[in-house]
């Protein structure tokens, strides 16, 4: 790899600072007592504690999955603290009472916690370590019947809704990390869009891990009732530590008849240094259920951070004519490892799904697409189109594609295409010969490569994602 490429991929992580704030941290270790402690701290009803304990007992019997194409040292689940919350003096009456240190933290990260902030039009729920610290525009959204709050609050205020839907898409024993999350989740966002309501603004959650040796286990639940629609954004950052932090989140989406949920993520957890020291282990279960007819769930993700990413945002297309989409850019550099993709489970008739995955590997990284398209025997008329492209920058990285296609119905059509391309000396020389420098050439090639995915992102996110990829690749091309 030539020096221009080298320089282009090596930009220091910009969100790596630690906020000095007093936190209420539970002792390290996991047991039924830890779970009871979390549940008690959050003043949870008995049924939720039961759900947690059921998940925990399930988890004890499960084995860590070995099939992902990633390597990491064994995680000591007893060395993790399962609860960390910034200490607050009293219940907040308004945003002005948020700890100024926290406000500064999020200002630095560019997250508008202040409702008078310039970036209006987006309601934000902010999760710091394990706890939601603020939610903006709550009152305004409530006027149209939308509930947008932290999940802890939802448990207190809307227990019937939470109880009805929590764990209905990702059961407590679904997989190793989902079970762990179900046992110990501390906070996350809850959105409920009632029948017929089109959410007037994008909803957003910003996740921040701050404490070393703490895990982040957030839980997000989004329900769109009949005819409702919502666009939801998620952003993630963490400070630089030499140790690894575990992030095992669960996101459940439920779309009833004619409902539409769009879920966008820009994931930029700390990825570790160029030698692979530190970084987040990002083991996430995201699944949407298109429960109703004509419903639609669309996942868009730009994955640039984390030492290890293990994540398959999926759609279960149960309602007839429902639509599932997955648009993904996954960039790995240095020693990062990503095993990410999607599952599209076609059950309803005439269900359709689209998968567009763009993997970019640089440095010594390892980037795998893993996807499943399953057409059930009853899913007559189902269609899937998948396109998985890989781009390699340098000859020390790898790009893998593992598409599983399982078709059980002769009336279905499934198409999968994959290709590889590169940014190498010849491409850059061609640009240079036409007077265009390497940085501009790389940015143009990368944006062209990712275009189909970026088009799916809300405007500001698309701009941010483009910038982020540029920063991430700085130093790796040439």
């Amino acid at each position: 790899m030539s020096s221009i490429l080298q320089n282009l991929v090596n930009q220091p992580y910009q969100h790596g600072f630690v906020t000095d704030i007093e936190a209420d941290i539970a002792p390290k270790g996991l047991s039924e007592d830890t779970i009871r402690l979390i549940s008690a701290k959050k003043n949870e009803p008995e049924w939720l504690l039961e759900l947690r304990l059921k998940a925990y007992r399930h988890w004890l019997k499960m084995e860590e999955p070995q099939w992902p194409n990633v390597k990491y040292p064994k995680i000591d689940f007893q060395a993790i603290s399962y609860y960390s919350a910034p200490k607050k003096k009293k219940t907040l009456a308004s945003m002005d009472e948020v700890d100024p240190e926290l406000l500064r933290t999020f200002e630095k990260l560019g997250v508008p916690m202040n409702e008078r902030a310039k970036l209006a039009g987006v309601a934000v729920d902010v999760i710091f370590d394990s706890v939601s610290v603020a939610t903006t525009y709550k009152a305004k959204l409530a006027e149209v019947g939308i509930i947008f709050c932290s999940i802890s609050e939802a448990v207190q205020e809307h227990p019937e809704l939470v109880r009805k839907y929590l764990g209905s898409v990702v059961p407590v024993g679904d997989n190793y990390y989902a079970a762990l999350n179900s046992a110990v989740f501390t906070d996350g966002s809850f959105c409920f869009i009632p029948k017929g309501v089109k959410c007037p603004m994008d909803l957003s959650t910003y996740f921040r891990i701050n404490t070393e040796n703490s895990g982040q286990f957030e839980r997000t639940l989004i329900v769109a009732e009949e005819g409702a629609s919502v666009s939801y954004l998620e952003g993630c950052t963490a400070p630089k530590f030499d140790t690894n932090q575990l992030h095992a989140a669960v996101v459940e989406l439920i779309a009833l008849d004619n409902a539409d949920i769009k879920y966008s993520t820009v994931q930029n957890w700390y990825a570790g240094d160029e030698n692979g020291l530190g970084g987040i282990f990002n083991f996430v279960t995201k699944r949407g259920l298109c429960k109703g007819v004509n419903s639609r769930i669309s996942w868009t993700q730009v994955e640039t951070g984390s030492a290890i990413t293990w994540k398959y945002p999926s759609c279960v297309l149960r309602g007839d004519n429902s639509v599932g989409e997955f648009y993904s850019v996954a960039l790995t550099n240095h020693r990062q490892q990503a095993d990410t993709g999607t599952k599209m489970i076609h059950i309803g008739k005439n269900t359709r799904s689209t998968i567009v995955s763009k993997g970019i590997s640089a440095g010594h990284s390892n980037n795998s697409y893993r996807g499943l398209v399953r057409i059930a025997p009853v899913a007559t008329g189902a269609r899937n189109y998948s396109r998985c492209d890989s781009m390699l920058i340098g000859d020390q990285c790898s790009a893998n594609t593992f598409p599983y296609i399982q078709v059980n119905n002769p009336g279905a059509t499934v198409e999968h295409e994959a290709s590889t391309s590169k940014i190498g000396e010849d491409q850059l020389f061609y640009f240079a010969q036409r007077g265009v420098g390497a940085e501009e050439a790389v940015s143009m090639i990368i944006n062209g490569f990712c275009k189909d995915v970026f088009q799916q992102l809300p405007m500001e996110f698309a701009v941010e994602a483009t910038k982020l990829l540029g920063l991430k690749l700085e130093g790796s091309v040439g």
Partner: protein, 268 residues
Amino acid sequence: MIYQDSRTLLAVRDLRATVNGIEILKGIELTVKSGEVHAIMGPNGSGKSTFAKVLAGHPAYVVTGGEVAFDGGPLLELQPEERSRRGIFLGFQYPIEIPGVANSQFLRLAYNTLQVQRGKDELDPLEFDDFVREKMKLLEMNPDFLDRSVNEGFSGGEKKRNEILQMSLLDPKLAILDETDSGLDIDALRVVATGVNHLATRDNAIILVTHYQRLLNYITPDFVHVMDSGRIVKTGGKELALELEARGYEWVGAETSASAAANAGAAR
């Protein structure tokens, strides 16, 4: 055309270059003046394409000796993009495919980069669109090709037309066209040649690197050079190309090795 008042654009003295440690260019001498059209011919592996790439600054080649002056200044120390911006254009033998980058986007970026360099205003997408469509007419190009990715899925002819379109946009002082005729059918060859002839002026110069004489039926060279084993071994007028077509390259090689042997004999 050879003009009396022309100035020297390119002066190559004893140029030597290697790739992966193997010497390919073994002392090239060449002078090109404004207004001239030069053809460099030679058998496969004689170093023609290498010479073209070395002039454009391809990073895979290491210059190990000699000097090159371009437009009055030293060339070899410049980065490839600086050479381009000073007016060297290489028409690629195998134009690179760049999936995802629209041709219009690429052409505009290249054009505007040069405009800035020349202290002129950049064109916005609409202005540029009008401008480039005019240029495309000359090359009988279908406008839909602006929206396609750079060279991706282009036929051989489309790729070469795209190269000449770029040449017309960048208006270089020296255009080096590497095997521009390869892979072209007779119609495409005529269109490409017409484009090149149209772009040749008193102030610029063209070097055609080609294996066959065919292209020279359409673009008349002032000088024909024969390359063999990394050197220019024979120079003549356009009639030399016809002779090569009729007799092949072996006789030139035989002639030069015979004269080299004679020289060696004389030296002894």
